[in-house]
Amino acid sequence: MKKHFFSSFIVIVLLFGCQQTTEKKIKIGSIQQLSVQMAKYGKTHVAAVRAMLDLINEERKSKSLPQIELIVDDDQLKPAVGVNIIQKFIDIDGVVAVIGAQGSSVTLAIAPIAEEKEVVLISGASGSPQISDAGDYIFRTCPSDIYEGRTMGEYYEKRFKGEPLAIIYINNDYGIGLRDAFLNALSDRPSKVLDLAYAQGAVDFRNQLTKIKQDNIKVVYLVGYNEMVSIYKQAKELGLTCQWLGNNQLNDQSLIDKMGTTADGTIFPGHDFELDKIKVSYPRFYYRYLKLSNGVELDVFAAYGVDAFIVINYALMQGAQTGTEIKDILYETTSFEGLIGNFSFDENGDALRNLGLYEIKNSKIVKYLVSPDK
């Protein structure tokens, strides 16, 4: 019975392998989380890249260039699954580059494989500082969390100068990374810092919020994902008022809509992602994206994913065929035109981006104008 299974496995794989040699296509792999709590971001990411892919393939067809095919798989936010996927992409599918992953732990796990096989890996969402050193073939179009944490930290220092501070954060690589970056950006330690971590999947934050209220802390740095909806809600119910400093996950109007007015007043660092600008500058892409995403609005990480795809295509158009050639072009190019403005890669493969400050006013995201005297 064992033998039977093994040989049928081989046969199936060979069958699939043969299918792919009929038409010459350039393959790009995409590894995203499509099935866990953060699945929404994986799906919008894939929809956005596909939308741009369709447009680019049209252009390529008109120039008699080979089509690009996107192969997508679900890493379930598990590094152990990601490594299997990327190995398959490189070995069996023969991808020329990989876009992924979103979760930093997955990206860190698959990076060594990409590096060893000399295949370019570009992440549109992983912020862990460790990725900067993950290898020459490892890039990202989003800024490292260090910048986000630093921007928020610098703002806190300028405006609140050492006032008692609480940090509520999700206990994963993202939350811990931002907390560290925030604290490291401060030149003086605040008079008091309440460190309140919560487990992934937690729903009840009242204890942490009660501690903040009890200690009369007026400035709170919040790092989380969509559970922030509950955090704001419970804070309001507990009668907690404070200045919220947020994270970039808030740069998603559909998430803010769920919060009603509970999040008003929050100031957070945004990546100059202005949806209206994109709608105007890239209408064909945008409407195609909406169709593919079933109406779910574009978020900043999906936009970064598109940027990752854009730079790969750019390199391919320049004639790059191997991973090494793509890598070289990525480092050498001084300016890429992306969905969220122009950018380039530094020597670590990190994108240099501007971070602006935004505020939530009346349940809407607006640009935060820092007055000169503050």
Binding site: M1, K2, F5, F6, F9, I12, V13, F16, L34, S35, V36, A39, K43, V72, D73, D74, Q76, L77, K78, P79, A80, V83, N84, I85, Q87, K88, I90, D91, I92, S104, S105, L108, A109, P112, K117, S128, Q130, A134, N171, N172, D173, I176, G177, A197, Q200
Partner: protein, 289 residues
Amino acid sequence: MDYFLQILILINIYIIIAISLNLIAGYLGILSIAHAGFYGIGAYVTALMSIHMNFSFFVNLPFAILVACFVGIIIALPSLRIHHDFFVIATFGFQVILFSIFNNWIALTNGPLGISGIDKIQIFGLVIDSSFEYLIFTLIFTVIIYFIAKRIVESPFGRVIKAIREDELFTQSLGKNITKYKIIVFLIGGSFAAIAGTLYAHYFTFIDPSSFTILESIFMISIVVIGGAGRISGSILGAILLVIIPELLRFLGMPTSVAANLRQIIYGALLVLFMMFRPQGLIGEYSFK
């Protein structure tokens, strides 16, 4: 080719895990849901020693086994005082506690960020670089552990263990020191799982807590149960099937957002169906009665 080799390496690692769990759950009859914890102990001890002290695999391995044994004793001792059914729940508890340590004791384990940059294995200065070489290396361990396990279960010691499983009271009345037997089996099982963890860490060079959760423990139980409890070759079969089939599904081009859920649904259904109609698994000998 590396993709296939990687799958084969994973199969080997899971064969080792399944054999070790089979000894505890299948032969001794104590269902343990803490096995992912032992696997994790092996991986973390190895990772930490490799990163902080630059020790080689051959030093890391004994240490990993030692720590696993230490923890194994802590877990086995209560089993002597708790009724069977509740011991399972206790192992649940130990698994959650171990995972909590991996995930929250950041100073030690780097928490959710995981540990990256674990060294590759070197033997006499030659680095095991390619997947093929690593497969051979892993295979050696699998074969050794297979033979050790076989010898154990076919020896008088093994007969006593099975006797304990069938009727503990009776075996005790024959004058056997049940405590001793239970602890030994637990330690052996835990040690083998730790070996598997060590092999995993050195191959993928990156580990993080998400590989050592309670769901992983349940997955390990499934391998033993579906493959066949109470028979070593059942563990081999179970490991091969439960590692290969999800990978096969990857080639079928299912819409990816439903694939993960579908996989789990099939998997849950398999567990129920097997327990309803074939609790001894595919080729097992013990049906958890």
